[in-house]
Symmetry: C3
Subunit: 461 residues, 3 copies
């Protein structure tokens, strides 16, 4: 093969341990032009060809006799004490602890903190633990969870093509070690909200349309439960969730107007709510899409076939030549149209939340899609529900058992959001708000800050 | 914490201004191993912890007394004159102007040009303005809009993980400053085309099926307008748009054949058309998908229920035991099948236009998907329309009021494209075309160019 | 313009040839701060402005008189011999051969090997050939197919923002040269499996429902072929394919249990099967989605309209007031519900297989989605089929012509997978399996290996 001596400027990296992670990391380091030496407890026993060409394989002591200042510890944390004999060789070097926590909520020190206690003369750095051996091998980029807090390690991560985030000192290492064990932490709240809303609406509809008719007049609607009731609860959940997406932005605007500055932090619950908007929106889209699929399946249900046959029998017996009701035709066509268009707009919104699509948008396009298309979708969804309700909300029989119809309940929050948004668009609100977002502050806040700064709008997207 | 002295080779970057952009940029620079000093008008007044650890916070003058040759101006452009007193300190340095235009189509000089006039002894560079503070913080990669024109700035952008494009001197700075204000510039033409086509087909169908029957025999079809007419216009738009995707490739091939070389530039309108093919294709897919959704909703319309009941009444009254028409069954099954398959293929095509999917394809796979699957989808769509039309095109009543049926109109362009493509596949065209694409030129072009070059095929995808 | 002298440390790159690839590569290199000199056979004949500003344009000999050690050959391989006169200038340098094979399965040496023979004193490197000129220009990142085998070239690729993979010596160059000509090599096996399964089920159903009834009692069901039969075969294919996704993981677990170690390689067929799981899953999703679309289209078929009308006629004639069958209503609602939910879960799974979505997941999330949601979807799909079958499997008329119903055939493999999975979850299997995956080995394997290693689980996902 055509090998050429390595340039002296290439960094030298030492890896202790010869497992899967060590093998993958050494491949990636070699690809990026680093010199790699691997220290194993017993290098003779390793089968040849395990490591890529160009990686030096030595004993642990031999590997540490080289000059590299970076040492990766690719061992299970329970084997860290076995390195104590190498303490003199490790002193003055940067030890990268790539281990993960073995379980959540462990007591005592984190792995990295125990390591720092064992090797007080070394710099212990936490990092690379969010990456699986698989990610290292396949060379996936754009992995935004990689974290570390040491500049030379950050630079190396950068060289290997990973995004690196400095998260502060070793006190943060527990959070880092537990990160790969977390299961969709940002989805927990939104998922819980969806489930609670769905349970409420499902039980409410089951009470109104199944239980009460059965108690009242022994009408057996049990077959509504698996499909019909689900399909009545889903659109209500979707609509309420969609309004929850736009509620925190409105609250933030009101708060900024009231405080007269954008430089004060929002309360924690509002911050968290704003960070959950993407997840709330996607779950709303999921419910809306399921509602659409359930609805188009209505006509292939056996029940709908039976109902048409029975209706045909009744029509023939009653001698009605034409059962056409023009208003009902208009009603159904209008609510179908607005529903389809609302879902279509929501679908475009969901697409732009794909990382690769969203990154191709500039700031104004992103705002247009998230805010402009989002409110369009909300208006169309509200229209869908209003057309569906038609004049039903004014009939006494819609309030049987003193329970208002579900579509009315689901309209409360969305209408609040739309009215709030409309009020904020009036010049008396929008003019001071725009001034505040460009850095202006009301008199009582003024002395605290300079006015010369530049910055993108952060408050409300 | 375990801090280690920074290596001397790390670049030193100075940022003037302490707003959101300054904070985000300094975080990102720190993560990538740069030394950062921030110059504020009044550093004492800034709350502690605003900037990440390791960022030096000084007065503007103090910050500029350091050695870094790169100075970012993170101020609003209206505050640039306040820097005039620092002119001696800024001379000989590279000033990076990150500001955006405040509105489109401003007169006079661009922000960067005015800055260059104020500081004639500094090198003014435009850049980083396409990035929002949000992108800087979250570390999104692959942002292809980042532009700049200075090598050391390009290298820094590269280091921060952004793609950088050199767009030339300061004369291009206006375009850069206006870029973040643009709203989907590449979608404007295709969207306009879609809207015009939709308006034409919608009005044509409304005229033929609603207005004329009303004038002619007072038939009230107004309820067609919200759903039925839309669903008749959408497939026509989708089909014409799909043929517009493949038309420019054919024209380019014909032009290359006629000119006998691939080295002459195409006319501007053809270049722009070819660049709009992806958008045309996605909008065609959107129309086709909406048509599919509208169509499956047809059976849950109230109107379809009424029509079936009335038909059942008629059948019973007329005493028809079996109303089965075999040819109609075949017709509907065939056009449904071809429509579903055509949309499925189009869906695969749309998926590969997602940035992250398309990048995983090699050149041959990309060509296979875009050209091979694209034409398959066009053929299936044309078959869908032909099966839908069946023998209807030969009946006189299809041409009521001398207006041909819509499906015939929508077939004109697709058939031209398919015939043109077929002709170009004949050896008399494909052989010289392949030779031209590999660099061959006809005799009259030959002396102008060397023949030795290598290159990917650019003309036709 | 504001040009500043380039730092001496910037690498110098020489490109021979002035075609599309040369132009694109030089743009990209300039953007990343490299110095570029292009050597053309006749630089005077090139139109001005063809290359970006800052690129030096010289004769081939003049370009090679510079100092850069990297020389890209952007020529067609058939012109390599024309460089023989430059042999002294090329000796000691690294020649990067970017050419592709002109066709698959060529005999003799690869382009890179022939080049190495022509220039024995140069280091020949294969690379950058997977990139099209288009990718180079648009700056697409994350292109994981880029391959090369020379450290300085790897470092340059890294600098240009491409992932680079070292694949070994020149003996691998044929594979590299042929890579861009391959058409979805990883999809070949799964696609073939899908087609074979579809053919089998389609022919089986056509035999049972169309051919046999025709031979037996001259019943004409030919109109079943285009849509009904396809829609019966698709769900069977989807279900079998989904079980094929989870089969190899089970086999691997059994093999690990039997061998008592995770350090022995799986047999080749199992390795290949495991690598094809993503493709098998996506094809299963495609079949399931097509089945869903076909099913919702059933109610807009002409045939379904005729059948309802005829049924209404029969009901009226027979004087049946109410044809409602409660069990049939439950059956249809239950199989629709489980089918919709199963497809929804499969859809989430398919979404996470998008590169940009999958990369945002950590290891535990990825496992949860692929394994947890995958088995949920399998269970829901099996429930969908069981509800669809209802008590039909116990009726003699389901076995007409001694052919069991299709849904029973399609249940065999999925039930095996579910039972196998359940057995592996029992403590007697799961406890030793987890120990093995953490690196434990049974006694007979123990002496061969050290126990100290760290690593992600590779065996089963």
């Amino acid at each position: 093969t055509n090998s050429v001596p390595l340039s002296v400027g290439d960094p030298m990296v030492c890896i202790l341990g010869s497992g899967d992670f060590s093998r993958s990391l050494s491949s990636r380091l070699r690809c990026c032009g680093c010199r790699v030496v691997v220290g194993s407890r017993d290098p003779q026993r390793l089968p040849p060809g395990l490591f890529p060409e160009g990686v030096e394989l030595k004993t642990q002591r031999g590997a540490l006799e080289g000059k590299g200042s970076l040492v990766f510890l690719a061992l299970y944390p329970e084997h860290y004490p076995s390195l104590l004999t190498l303490r003199p060789l490790l002193s003055g070097r940067i030890l990268v602890d790539v281990s993960n926590a073995s379980s959540l909520k462990q007591e005592g020190l984190s792995n990295a903190q125990r390591l720092a206690q064992m090797f007080p003369c070394s710099s212990v750095v936490k990092g690379f633990n969010g990456l699986s051996a698989w990610t290292l091998l396949t060379g996936a980029y754009d992995h935004s969870r990689q974290v570390s807090n040491e500049l030379s390690v950050l630079a190396l991560a950068q060289r290997l093509g990973f995004g690196a985030v400095d998260v502060g000192g070793l006190s943060a290492s527990r959070a880092l070690e537990e990160a790969p064990l977390l299961l969709f932490p940002s989805w927990r709240g939104p998922l819980l909200t969806t489930m609670l809303l769905f349970s409420f609406f499902y039980l409410y509809i089951a009470l109104k349309n199944v239980l009460m008719p059965f108690l009242d007049r022994a009408e057996n609607n049990l077959h509504h439960l698996p499909l019909i009731t689900v399909n009545q609860a889903l659109p209500a959940v979707a609509l309420v969730m969609l309004s929850l997406v736009y509620m925190p932005g409105l609250l933030a605007s009101v708060l900024q107007l009231y405080r007269g500055t954008k430089y004060k932090r929002f309360p924690d619950w509002l911050d968290q709510w704003m960070c959950a908007r993407k997840q709330l929106g996607l779950l709303s889209f999921l419910c809306a899409a399921l509602h659409a699929v359930y609805s188009v399946c209505l006509s292939i249900r056996r029940a709908s076939g039976y109902m048409i046959l029975n209706a045909a029998y009744q029509q023939v017996k009653a001698g009605v030549v034409d059962s056409w009701v023009e208003t009902q035709v208009w009603r159904s066509d209008l609510y179908l149209s607005s529903g389809i268009l609302g879902l279509g707009v929501l679908c475009v919104l969901a697409l732009t939340s794909l990382p690769s699509v969203g990154q191709a948008l500039n700031w104004r396009e992103f705002t247009f899609v998230q805010s402009g298309l989002g409110y369009t979708s909300l208006v169309l969804s509200v229209a869908h529900v209003l057309f569906f309700g038609w004049d039903f909300a004014f009939l006494p029989r819609a309030y049987q058992y003193y329970l208002p119809p579900v579509f009315l309940l689901s309209l409360v929050l969305p209408c609040c959001v739309l009215i709030g948004r409309f009020l904020l668009l009036l010049p008396c609100c929008s003019v001071p708000l725009n001034r505040i977002r460009r850095g202006w502050e009301s008199k009582q806040n003024k002395p605290e800050r300079e006015r010369q700064e530049n910055g993108a709008v952060f408050g409300d997207v």
